[in-house]
Amino acid sequence: MNALPLARGRAGGAGLVVLAALAAAVITLAVVAVTGKAPASQAQQVQQIAAGLHCPICKDLSVADSPATLAQQMRQQIAQEVSAGESPDQIRAGFVAAYGDSVLMSPPRRGLAGTAYFLPALVLLAGLIAAGALLRRWLRTPRADPAAADSGPPLSAAQRRAVARAVARLREEEPG
């Protein structure tokens, strides 16, 4: 209803360009995602573990970010444990044994606390369902067209667009 055949041809060309760009983007992202990263050095491992621990005497900061002395000493202890060959899980478990679960920056994965990891997906899903339902309702509502009964010759697409644009511009500049 919208485009003339000539315009559709041009739109088809535009569609190809956009599709190609999309494909290139997706492929690039896939390549980056799959590309093996260099194995982390010991210092990087310490940093990663420290970033996952909450500095017990700070508000919000991780052990990696905090300038507090206790956080520094925790980093030193983590470094010793890493060079002693302990796994990240063991190191974290050691701190949890002393400080409790709240020393982890993120909730533990088991129990009620672990449900936190499902929440974002659930919220997004709920939003998608609600938005979908709303759009379907709007799409289904039949268009009441009382003006069609006694109007003159129908406007062309371009004329309709011009009218719509003029009305829109008018509305933009009205007060309030």
Binding site: P56, L70, Q73, Q77, A98, G100
Partner: protein, 186 residues
Amino acid sequence: MTARVTGRITRRRATLLATVAAGVAVVVALLATGLGRDPSAVASPLVGRMAPNFTLPQLDGQPVTLSKLRGQVVVINFWASWCTECQTEQAALNQTWQQFQDSGVVVLGVNFEDSTGAARDYVRSDSVTYPVVEDAASHTALSYGLRGVPETFVVSRSGRIVSHVIGPVDTTALSNEISAMLPGSQ
């Protein structure tokens, strides 16, 4: 509007209003549980568990190993010379030591994030007579889940942590607790 439509609207309104009221009640009840608690007070997971072992050097003397003190009640007190609250509880700790040192109780001070010189000055000026050790790299403090000073752990004769106090200790409470753990009181 017909009566049927009105009735339907009233029913729908009642359902919606009930839902809103229920939702608000749940939210408010949840948030109310947060009131009255101190959000920065975290319960220690160590109470009831075996006290982590350590070997630390005294300020002037032999190293002390916790496991070698098995069979005695041990009061582990983490402190620092720069900590003002530690000074307020010093009298209580000294008194506890005086009272119980011959009854199989050890009061052990663990110096936290401090310098040896400052620690020695403090010990001298505050008449600390019980053994004091230094935890230079804070390994022991970390294994005890320390968040600040002063913190005190009471370890039973079997080596289990029975209580954890954040902040200055109270003389009466401490001596009651120790007395309850000594032989002859059961």
